[in-house]
Amino acid sequence: MLRARDVTLSYGGEPVLEGAGVELDAGQFVSLVGPSGSGKSSLLRAVMGLQDISAGTIETPGLARDEIGILFQDDALLPWRSAVDNVALGLRQRGASRAQAREEAEGWLERLKLAGLGGRYPRELSGGQRKRVALAQVLALRPRLLLMDEPFASLDAIVRARVTQDVVNLVESEGIGVLLVTHDLEEAIALSDKIYLLSNGPRARVSHEYPVPLPRPRALIAARTHPKFAPLYGRLWNDLSEAVEGPQPAREAA
């Protein structure tokens, strides 16, 4: 579904990423973790076509351009449009009539636990509700590949856990492939089927790849207590610390 090979990416000077490769199969949940400045978000933007690459290839075999959706850290909702109109915006671009788009948008808001809030402007919604609207906006377009750039980083712990669990349920039930950028190692393990660790930038590359041996469907809280969670967390922590600060003494797995 996604094959990014030998991707080099720069903003004019030294490359941020050099020779990075990422693969994602249909319905798979893959996370990118790594130090700040390692080009995680840039790679995600390049997959979406928002960022040019200097070398390498990014292919999405079997996927049309409009089957890829992206969710940013900022919800970036139009402040002058109500929640339902924000969700309907993309549907209108796909040719739906105003009435059809609004009806479908209302349905998505309901699925994301926002029934009755469609008429509110973004400023009238909480951070978690705005995030759900942004999610509805993307999911309403039925993407087969969803790119997420630390989408829940700004939410408090409880809201974040709830929204994240809802996302997992939705992508599992719809069979959507996800490429997630996150700084949170626990989140990466709890959500993913595979994790890529990027080395320190500039000239960052994929230094490690970890399959996540946790069963699906995933309950995020339960996943954290799975016996295979802690050893993987320990490995990831050590490798990430090494990437940031050089070789570290091995961390005891719980």
Binding site: D66, F72, Q93, L141
Partner: protein
């Protein structure tokens, strides 16, 4: 316990009434020379006189025509030039210095020049109002477009939006909000242009009446006209405020 004086407007109206009462009393006691500082009742009488014989209406009409003409033209041209400058770098390079120079000049000094160019009729007043408003709106739109949230543009693009969609869904509402925020200032500028233009050279208008009152040393008429202009502009501010609140209720 709450009383009627807890309301801000009650306190403000009371303070104003006390001030007018003191002013009137000082005039009645002979402490103020009515030639320079007429009492509120004399100013009120001048106002009543203006309205009772109907002589004020042609002047009100002339001032409103000039101010609204200048406001409409100034907003239209300001929006077009501001948008062109923000979107085409060459236009910005050419226009920005001109606008900066115009902005640096106290633009009311252009009033005599407008009279020379456009005569003492409506044209010179519209022209002065137009210059005052257009420069303000130019900078409003120019700055507004440059400050459009790039994340919103990207969001609309990633939802499949075309350039036209980005313009309609992001740029126009964003810049409209900036213009609405400056509409009250623009209305004030438009009236300033109209009245100053009439003051410098005209045969009709509130500015012309002010000039007439000055030349006849009629302080009561002058103050009556000042309060009248103030009332008109405040009424327009209130209307503009209502429109702003309605259109920008998403804020």
């Amino acid at each position: 316990m709450t009383t009627v004086f807890d309301r801000i407007w009650v306190r403000q109206v009371t303070a104003l009434a006390i001030l007018l009462g003191l002013w009137e009393a000082a005039g009645a006691a002979g402490m103020l020379n009515p030639l320079y500082a007429p009492s509120p009742s004399q100013i009120g009488a001048a106002l009543v006189q203006l309205f009772s014989d109907g002589s004020i209406w042609p002047h009100v009409e002339a001032t409103f025509a000039a101010a609204i003409g200048g406001l409409v033209l100034g907003v239209l041209v300001g929006v077009m030039l501001g948008a062109a400058a923000a979107l085409v770098p060459l236009v910005a390079q050419l226009l920005e210095p001109v606008m900066m120079m115009l902005n640096a000049v106290p633009r009311v000094v252009l009033a005599p020049l407008c009279v020379i160019w456009f005569g003492i009729g409506l044209g010179s007043k519209v022209a002065l109002s137009f210059v005052l408003v257009a420069v303000l709106i130019f900078f409003t739109v120019y700055t507004g477009i440059k400050q459009v949230d790039r994340r919103l543009v990207e969001r609309v693009r990633t939802l499949g939006g075309s350039s036209w969609t980005v313009l309609r869904e992001v740029y126009i509402p964003f810049v409209a909000a900036w213009i609405m925020g400056n509409l009250k200032v623009a209305v004030g500028f438009a009236f300033t242009g109209a009245v100053v233009g009439e003051f410098v050279g005209a045969s009709r208008g509130l500015g012309y009446l002010l000039s007439f009152a000055q030349s006849t040393f009629n302080a009561a008429l002058m103050l009556a006209l000042v309060f009248l202009i103030m009332g008109f502009v405040l009424a327009i501010f209130a209307a503009a405020g209502r429109i702003e609140r309605r259109l920008l209720r998403w804020r």
